[in-house]
Symmetry: C2
Subunit: 373 residues, 2 copies
C-alpha cells in the first residue's frame, strides 16, 4: 500500500568473506578529504564476554553522520587503535542492522541469526563486521526487511517521540511540519495517519512538486503546501477552514529560518514547536509575542538524548510500537538507495565521498544505505 | 534597607472633590493623538449589587498600557457609553490601588477604607473613581504603602511566576536575566535574593553604569554586566568561575534580538528561557542546536494569563507571598515618580502624552504613577 522505492546499485559483485572493511577517518574534517573505505584488521576469534559478533547488513548515512565526521556534532565516536590502520581511526556511522554471527559468554537474550540494531549512539556502523556489547543492541523483527530495520532507530522514533511527548493529541487534531519530505517527515505523516491525526505538510517548491505532493498524500498526508503557499496571506483563511477554527497544537521543524517563522505563526494558543533539525542553517527566529501572548513553547528533540534518558525496557517498547506499525503496513521504509561498496578501496572512497557531499548539501533526496558485500 | 526613590511632581494642588476624571480615548492609536485627560460623568449614587465604589489612589503606567492604547495588545478594554463623553470611550490603565468608599449589597469580604488592587485585567484604572465588581479585586495590606500596592499585581508576580513555574531552583542556583533594571528585573533580583538564589543581571551600557550596577547590587544582584561584557569571549570563563561549572537553569528575557541570543548561549543543559517582554522589538533569534542538543526550552510568561488560569485562592496566596516579602523589607517599590494630574484638562493631556511617548521609547527609566487629586 505504501510505496517503497529502493534501487540497488551494484558496483561490485565479488564477495570477500575473509576481509573486514569499514569507512574510516583518522581526524575529523571535510568528509571529501578525511574519509576512506579501507580494509581493516579482522576481528579476533574470541568474542568478549557480554558481546556479540555481528555482520552488518545495511548501514544508513544520516545527515548527522556527516556532522560527526566534520567534528561539529555533540556526540563523538571512539577512536580505535586496533584497526591495523597506520594511525588510530574512527569508524563512521551511527545506525544499522546487523545479523548475529556468534555470541560471547553470558549473552542469553540473543541467538545466532538474530537481527539487531544499535541503541547506543556512535558505535561505528559503517563496517562489515563488529563486536558490540549485547546491552547496546536490540533485537529487531526480520519481517520488517533490511531497509526498514536499518533505519528503525533514528527517524521513526524521532517522529513518534515528537508526536507523543509534547502535546496530548486527539483523533482529528492537526499537526503542521516543514521539511515534510525528509525521512522523519515521512514517518510523521504515516504515524500521524495511523493515529488518525491530520497533517499539514510544508515542502520546498521544486520542479516535480506535483509528484511529491502525490507521494506524500499517498503516505497519508492530509495537506501538502509549499513554503510560498504557507507564507501567502490566503493561508490563514485556508487553515481556518481545514482545521475548522481549532488551533494547531503541534508544529515540527527541521528547517529553521523564515520557514519556521511562517509555520509558528499558524500555530494555535498553547502550542508546542518542536525542532529536530536546521536544514536551512538559519536560526529559529520567532516573534516574542508568540511566546508571551499565545503561550507558544519551543522545544528541541534529539533521539540520542531520548535513548540516554530512557530505560532498556522503554527503548524496547518504543521499537516494538514502530515494528507493529511496519508489520501492519502503516510505516514504510524511507525512499532509499542501496550502495554496495565497490571492492577497490579507491573506487569505494571516491563514490562514497561524492554521495556524502550531495547528502551534506541536502540535495540527495533519498536515504543512502551502505552494503558491504 | 532597600532604597526607595520616589519624587512627587505637583502640577496642581487644588482638590476637586465633586468631579470624576479619567485618561480616556475613543479610538485606539498613537497615544500622543488619541489620549486625553477629561472630566467624565460622576458615578451613580447606588453601588450595584456585588460591586464596590473605589477611589483610586495611584495608577501606574506600564509599557503594556501604551500598547493597549495603540490597539496592538491582545487584551482589549471595554468601551463605555456612560462617561458623558461626546462618543463612547475607553478608560486606560490596567493596574492600580484604590480605597473602598462604599459597598454594594452582597459584598461582605471588604470594608469601607480597605485598599484593593485589580486582579482582572483592563478594568480601566486611570480614573479617579470607579465601581468594580468585588470579585475582580483583592484586598491589599496598607502597610506596604501606596506605591508598592499600586504596582503589586503585575511586576512582582511576573518575577515570582518566572522564578517559580519553569524550573525547580535550589539555594545557590544561578538565574540570568536581561533588562535587569526593569521593574520586573528589580523584583527578580529581590525575590531571588530572598530565596538565596544568585542572579547574573545584564543591562545596557549607559553613562551612569557604575551607579546602576551599585543600585542593582544594593537590591541583592550577585553580578551585574553590560550586554557588551556578556558578549565578550572572556564571559564564558567568568561564568564558569561564578557558577563553579554548574549550568544555569533559568534565563529571563524582556529584550529579544541579539541580547537574548547571547544570554541563551550561556544557559546550561535542560534550561528554560522565559520571555516576558521584547524591549528591542527584535524577535527571539536562537540557534536551533541549543534546542536540539542542549535541550533548551523557550517559554513565554504573561501575568494576565496567569490570573486567567488561577483560582481566586491562588491569586490571594500569591499576593500574600509578595506582601510578606514587602513587609519583611525584602521587596521594595520600583524606582518611580508620582505624577499628580494637573487640573487643567489641556495641561494634563499635554503632560501625560509627553510622558507616554518617553515610556514607549523605553527611555523613561522610572515607573510613572498617576495620582488624581
Amino acid at each position: 500500500m505504501i510505496p517503497r522505492r529502493g534501487a540497488v546499485f551494484l558496483f561490485s559483485t565479488i564477495r570477500h568473506f575473509s576481509s573486514r572493511r569499514a569507512v574510516i577517518y583518522s581526524s575529523t574534517g571535510d568528509p571529501a578529504q578525511v574519509l576512506s573505505v579501507s580494509k581493516i584488521s579482522p576481528l579476533p576469534d574470541s568474542v568478549p564476554v557480554g558481546h556479540i559478533a555481528v555482520k552488518l547488513l545495511l548501514s544508513p548515512i544520516n545527515p548527522a553522520d556527516i556532522n560527526v565526521v566534520q567534528g561539529v556534532y555533540p556526540s563523538k565516536p571512539k577512536i580505535r587503535d586496533n584497526l591495523g590502520t597506520p594511525s588510530p581511526a574512527f569508524i563512521g556511522g551511527n545506525e544499522g542492522v546487523g545479523q548475529v554471527e556468534r555470541l560471547g559468554d553470558g549473552v542469553t537474550e540473543l541467538a545466532v541469526g538474530d537481527w539487531v540494531v544499535m541503541t547506543k549512539p556512535q558505535l561505528g556502523t559503517w563496517v562489515s563486521h563488529a563486536h558490540v556489547e549485547s546491552k547496546d543492541v536490540t533485537k529487531v523483527d526480520k519481517r520488517v526487511g533490511e531497509a526498514r530495520a536499518a533505519t528503525i532507530t533514528v527517524n521513526p522514533p524521532t517522529a513518534r517521540g515528537m508526536l507523543s511527548d509534547f502535546r496530548s493529541l486527539e483523533e482529528g487534531d492537526y499537526v503542521i511540519q516543514n521539511g515534510a519530505n525528509s525521512a522523519v517527515g515521512q514517518s510523521v505523516i504515516q504515524i500521524a495517519a495511523a493515529r488518525k491525526l491530520r497533517t499539514i505538510n510544508v515542502v520546498r517548491d521544486r520542479p516535480n512538486i506535483d509528484e511529491l505532493k502525490k507521494h506524500l498524500t499517498s503516505l497519508g498526508a492530509t495537506h501538502v503546501v509549499t513554503d510560498q503557499e504557507l507564507a501567502d496571506v490566503s493561508m490563514k483563511t485556508r487553515l481556518k477552514e481545514w482545521t475548522q477554527g481549532k488551533g494547531i497544537k503541534l508544529g515540527l521543524n527541521c528547517v529553521g529560518g523564515k520557514s519556521t517563522t511562517a509555520l509558528a505563526k499558524h500555530l494555535g494558543s498553547n502550542a508546542a514547536l518542536v525542532s529536530y533539525g536546521a536544514m536551512s542553517k538559519g536560526p529559529l527566529s520567532l516573534p516574542t509575542g508568540l511566546f508571551i501572548f499565545k503561550n507558544l513553547t519551543s522545544y528541541g528533540y534529539w533521539q540520542t538524548r531520548w535513548y540516554e534518558t530512557h530505560s532498556p525496557e522503554e527503548r524496547q517498547s518504543m521499537l516494538q510500537e514502530i515494528t507493529d506499525l511496519m508489520l501492519a503496513d502503516k510505516l514504510g521504509a524511507p525512499e532509499h538507495e542501496i550502495l554496495v561498496i565497490p571492492e577497490s578501496e579507491k573506487d569505494a572512497t571516491r563514490v562514497l565521498r561524492e554521495k556524502l557531499m550531495l547528502i551534506d548539501a541536502g540535495r540527495y533526496g533519498k536515504k543512502l544505505l551502505l552494503k558491504f558485500d
